[in-house]
């Protein structure tokens, strides 16, 4: 039997390209920054991302430990983040090397251990080479004191300019001033301010009264007018009241009605209160409120 050669070769080569389905690591990548331009004392981050098949976990003991790796290399920070089957290992190396010229150095590689049940699988992280540059020239310059050195770092004043104290001072003073103002208002230290809300309060109270509480309603309005006048106000002193509070002259008819009604209510017998009277009283207060608010 003659086997067709070309299809067999094609199938075999395709099989060779595909990765075996049971490979323990599905994704592996090492991220490193630029491999040049580092100087003595620089930190170099390195990120390893590894994704495993299900049932395979990373052995945390195989991740390098913090500390000195060799004479010139320290590992300052190690963090392993796991989300599902994906591991992100962040390493932060620090180089302490004083080269005389640009020198290639190598971050050592290591092997990560993965375990699947009792089976161990290893994944090697390759070494990484970078170049380190000197900070000083070969023949050093001399200053007056001898070899050139960077000066001491002076104690900072800005560190002591504690903004918290200033903010605290401003905040507590503001709160104190606001509280003092409100207390002053409550104690009647601002008569001009309190007069402007006389009818506002009366209106609020009137809203809860019915025609059966006519006596209370009339008393409230009387008190408000007395308060505004600074002394008890009667119908024969209305003109004096208008002279002191000219805007109220425009509701003269309503005020006159109010004093007449009040007279009849308190001093004559058999007065029957109807809903309309209460409504008229409320209208009067509405007008007064508009005047005290300055919108009329």
């Amino acid at each position: 039997m003659r086997v067709p050669l070309i299809p067999v070769i094609l199938v075999l080569s395709l099989l060779g390209c595909s990765r075996p389905i049971d490979e323990p690591v599905s994704y592996f990548n090492v991220e490193t920054p630029r491999p040049f331009g580092y100087v003595n004392g620089d930190e170099i981050p390195r990120r390893i991302i590894i994704e495993t098949r299900s049932g395979i976990s990373l052995q945390p003991g195989s991740v390098p430990v913090k500390g000195q790796i060799n004479r010139w290399l320290n590992l300052n920070q190690v963090s392993v983040k796991q989300s599902g089957r994906r591991y992100q290992i962040d390493l932060r190396y620090q180089v302490f090397y004083a080269p005389l010229e640009v020198k290639a150095l190598t971050l050592p590689g290591f092997t990560l251990q993965l375990s699947q049940g009792e089976k161990n699988i290893s994944q090697s992280v390759p070494a990484w080479t970078f170049t380190l540059s000197p900070l000083r020239e070969l023949v050093v310059r001399q200053s007056e004191q001898g070899e050139y050195l960077r000066p001491d770092s002076p104690p900072s004043l800005s560190l002591l300019v504690n903004s918290h104290a200033v903010y605290g001072l401003a905040a507590s003073l503001t709160i104190a001033a606001l509280t003092a103002l409100y207390l002053g208002y409550l104690y009647g230290c601002f008569p001009g301010l309190s007069r402007r809300t006389v009818f506002k309060r009366v209106l609020r109270k009137l809203a809860g009264l019915s025609k059966a509480d006519m006596e209370q309603a009339l008393t409230l309005v009387h008190q408000a007018l007395n308060n505004l006048n600074g002394q008890p106000l009667f119908s024969n002193r209305l003109s004096e009241f208008y002279r002191r509070n000219p805007p109220y002259r425009q509701i003269n008819s309503q005020l006159t009605w109010f004093f007449n009604y009040s007279n009849r209510y308190f001093f004559s017998d058999g007065m029957i209160v109807v809903q309309q009277d209460l409504q008229q009283l409320k209208d009067l207060c509405e007008q007064c409120r508009k005047i005290e608010r300055g919108s009329r």
């Binding site: 003595n40 300052n76 620090q94 070899e147 050195l149 004043l157 504690n162 905040a171 104190a176």
Partner: protein, 186 residues
């Protein structure tokens, strides 16, 4: 009842706010005084030691700065060692950098006077302080530069780099720690 409660709470709020204002004022005044002392020390005038003891660690750093300016190295060292573990990370990095400078300056002086035995441990201590400072704050270029000065003064060699580290080579290995390597090169 509610009005009474409102009044009491308003008065206590006022009292609390005033107390807070007084406290903040006190803190603010303290900061102002400390800043003044620091300015005095950095401009080269000494201040009484009891003022420094009660204040912030920055004050001790300023006092050490003053001692170093006056070349009173031992006093500067003892002052700095008191604040090694105080303050935040940036402050600790700064203390270690200044400590490194303190050692390195002495090491350079000893090396200039050809006291190699005295210069070697001082340069080693300087390197250690700079390394610690850079581990805390890797962005400090001054520390990087001065560490390089200290490392050139006292170069380090890997044992791995010298495979034939036999007894006959011991002497030559000693030579690697001779200070001032780059000086006088063509």
């Amino acid at each position: 009842m509610i009005r009474r409660f409102r009044h009491i709470s308003l008065w206590s709020a006022l009292a609390l706010a005033l107390a807070g204002a007084l406290y903040s004022l006190g803190v603010w005044y303290g900061i102002h005084r400390d800043n003044h002392l620091i300015l005095q020390l950095t401009s080269g005038k000494d201040v009484a030691v009891n003022k420094v003891i009660s204040g912030e660690p920055e004050l001790r750093l300023a006092r050490a700065f003053y001692f170093k300016q006056k070349h009173r190295y031992d006093e500067a060292l003892s002052t700095l060692s008191l604040v090694m573990d105080k303050g935040d990370q940036a402050f600790q990095a700064k203390v270690r950098y200044n400590l490194g400078n303190l050692y390195l300056e002495q090491a350079l002086q000893q090396a200039k006077a050809m006291n190699i035995n005295a210069a070697t441990p001082l340069a080693g201590l300087a390197k250690q302080a700079y390394r610690q400072s850079l581990a805390l704050d890797s962005g400090n270029w001054d520390a990087k530069y001065n560490l390089e000065v200290a490392m050139r003064l006292l170069p380090e060699m890997d044992r791995v780099d010298m495979p034939d580290d036999g007894p006959e080579n011991r002497k030559s290995q000693l030579w690697t720690t001779v200070p001032g390597f780059p000086r006088g090169l063509p």
